[in-house]
């Protein structure tokens, strides 16, 4: 009962932990960014789930329905998605420059290149 009723929240937790684990455990910078994306996406799903109202229809004013789902979290998360895209773009641009400067996108090689290993 609990599992099925809160199904999307369990998905959120699963995705969040997967993403966070990838960011921490992966040495490849591209994989880190993918992990970061999964992590952020889980938060998007969380917000969208919060906006759901049982039996509510799409939030477009009409004579036929009285119960609407909450549009505000969707609007908020639209902003967060834009932020996520900007972050990913910046991260990829940085990785490109790192690749040019160090000749590698592996964390180990970069640390070794700077003599910090």
């Amino acid at each position: 009962m609990l599992l099925s009723a809160l199904y999307n929240y369990w998905v959120v937790i699963l995705l969040m932990m997967t993403g966070l684990y990838m960011v921490i455990a992966q040495g490849n910078l591209i994989k880190k960014v993918i992990g970061l994306n999964i992590f952020q996406t889980s938060v998007f799903i969380f917000y969208i789930s919060v906006g759901k109202v049982a039996g509510g229809s799409a939030p477009i004013l009409s004579q036929l329905t009285t119960v609407y789902s909450n549009p505000l979290p969707h609007v908020l998360i639209l902003t967060a998605i834009v932020v996520g895209i900007a972050t990913t773009a910046l991260a990829l641009a940085l990785i490109l420059r790192i690749r040019q400067a160090y000749g590698s996108v592996e964390e180990q090689d970069i640390l070794a290149g700077d003599g910090q290993c």
């Binding site: 970061l36 992590f39 919060v50 932020v83 972050t87 910046l90 940085l94 790192i98 160090y102």
Partner: protein, 494 residues
């Protein structure tokens, strides 16, 4: 015009940023940025004056009243932090031209000033807004531009530091976003005041507790509170000198403001202290930050890195003030916020001068600098004295209040530990002074002695240094504002 000051504070740099991109000439864009920063400073001074005279200012964006619209709400705390950020930014950017020309090259300067203005707008937005989701948006505006600014450093390590900061910063910001989601889920509002009113009814719920934990960790990541400080030394030491001066003096201060705003206003100090053992947590982490930061700073040979670790230690002091959680403790934190911004900006600007003339700033390289660059080295020495907390400098005042606060609340050992921490900072400051004044210049250095730093850099540096001395003696402005802010925050009369 006067009624629109709160929005003017944020919208001015925000609109100026893309406009700056149109100005193709780098000198012109520098001048433009200085003027915008100066205008923002005037606005913040007017706001501060208005708040001190008339109390809280409320401003509804677009005429939509809260909770429907976004509300900007300026009380003594916001006005104070806005004042600090704009004042330091104006001094730093006025000094920026020569240093940026030398470190960035001709082609990237306009982009630099655009990013700078964006970051500035983001920081001001975080402080001015009274809406928690707005906080997240402005936080990301300032963070994204900060990552790009750091990546502009000369060394390739700047890229790697920027990437590390990007990953940690994004995790921190997303944590805050999750926390805000929980808060909205439980209360149905995003307005800070509404949240403060509705939270007590649901405060026993686990969701609120989870929100608190997520927001706390997220902010502490941004704040570089020990042990979440790992991104800070790399980012500060590899960024362009001007960026370091700006970030050290403003970004962590704004994060600290957020911490105070969330723990004291939104969640309420009673909830914050009872939900987690926050008092002992803050005091212990703060002390750990003070000692670890100072001890590591002593062993650094790169001065920028040394001062970056010292920032970790100074953040520790501010956190201790919040941990004590009395009016005087909070006041000490807010005072140190101001004083630390002054001293770190002065120190990092002086270092920008050193880097400009000598091309680096390791302890080896500044040997004998007291003779060849007396003004710059003097600024470092006085800034350092303020960092240690010597009497007659600004740093002394905030340490004094912090010690008074800990004795007032009966934390005797804490007062002693704070003094011990100051002694540690005296050690690394002494290493600077010793290298600058008592050591002979490195043999085999360039035949020509490096001259004094350019005047454009030296004058703003010395304005900040003199401010350090002035506010070490004449304390009525910071003390009265912070007292008002602290009593208002903890529920006294405004």
């Amino acid at each position: 015009m006067l009624t629109h000051l709160p929005i003017l504070q944020v919208i001015l740099p925000l609109v100026a940023a893309p406009s700056c991109m149109i100005l193709q000439r780098s000198r012109l864009s520098w001048l433009f940025t200085v003027l915008v920063s100066l205008a923002a400073f005037v606005v913040s001074a007017l706001l501060l004056q208005q708040v001190m005279a008339e109390g809280v200012i409320r401003y509804s964006l677009g005429g939509w009243d809260a909770p429907w619209g976004i509300e900007y709400r300026i009380d003594a705390l916001n006005a104070w932090v806005l004042f600090i950020v704009t004042a330091v930014s104006t001094a730093v950017i006025a000094a920026a031209r020569t240093s940026i020309e030398a470190e960035l090259g001709a082609s990237r300067q306009t982009v630099f000033y655009t990013l700078y203005l964006l970051c500035f707008a983001g920081l001001l937005g975080i402080v001015a807004t009274g809406d928690v989701f707005n906080v997240f948006v402005f936080l990301e505006i300032s963070s994204l531009s900060t990552y790009a600014l750091i990546a502009m450093g000369r060394d390739r390590r700047a890229l790697w530091s920027a990437f590390q900061y990007l990953v940690l910063g994004t995790i921190g910001a997303t944590f805050i976003l999750i926390g805000i989601g929980f808060l909205y889920m439980m209360t149905g509002t995003l307005n800070m005041l509404d949240l403060a009113e509705r939270l007590p009814a649901v405060e026993s719920s686990t969701a609120v507790l989870a929100a608190f934990a997520f927001i706390l960790v997220g902010i502490c990541l941004k704040l570089a509170l020990f042990p979440l400080h790992l991104w800070l030394p790399n980012a500060y030491s590899n960024a362009p000198s001007i960026v370091t001066a700006f970030l050290a003096a403003t970004a962590t201060k704004v994060a600290l403001y957020l911490l105070v705003r969330f723990t004291v206003t939104v969640f309420g100090i009673d909830f914050s202290l009872s939900a987690l053992p926050l008092q002992s947590l803050f005091i212990l982490l703060g002390l750990a930050g003070v000692f670890v930061g100072s001890a590591v700073a002593i062993y650094q040979s790169n001065i920028k890195r040394m001062l970056a670790y010292s920032s970790v230690a100074q953040i520790g002091y501010m956190i201790i003030g919040i941990g004590i959680s009395t009016v005087v403790g909070l006041q000490a934190t807010l005072l140190h916020l101001f004083n630390h911004a002054l001293m770190k900006a002065a120190l990092f600007l002086a270092l920008a001068g050193v880097a400009y003339r000598i091309g680096g700033c390791s302890l080896e390289q500044i040997r004998g600098l007291g003779r060849s660059m007396p003004w710059t080295m003097g600024a470092i020495a006085i800034g350092g004295a303020s960092l240690v907390g010597m009497p007659l400098t600004a740093g002394f005042i905030s340490k004094w209040y912090l010690i008074a606060a800990s004795i007032d609340s009966g934390f005797w050992p804490l007062a002693l530990l704070i003094v011990a921490g100051s002694l540690l900072s005296a050690v690394y400051v002494w290493r600077l002074v010793e290298a600058g004044y008592l050591r002979e210049p490195q043999s085999g250095q360039l035949a020509a002695e490096p001259g004094e730093a350019p005047l454009g850099l030296l004058i703003p540096t010395w304005i900040l240094v003199l401010a350090n001395l002035y506010f070490g003696v004449e304390t009525s402005l910071p003390v009265s504002v912070t007292e008002m802010a602290a009593t208002y925050l903890l529920g006294g009369a405004p």
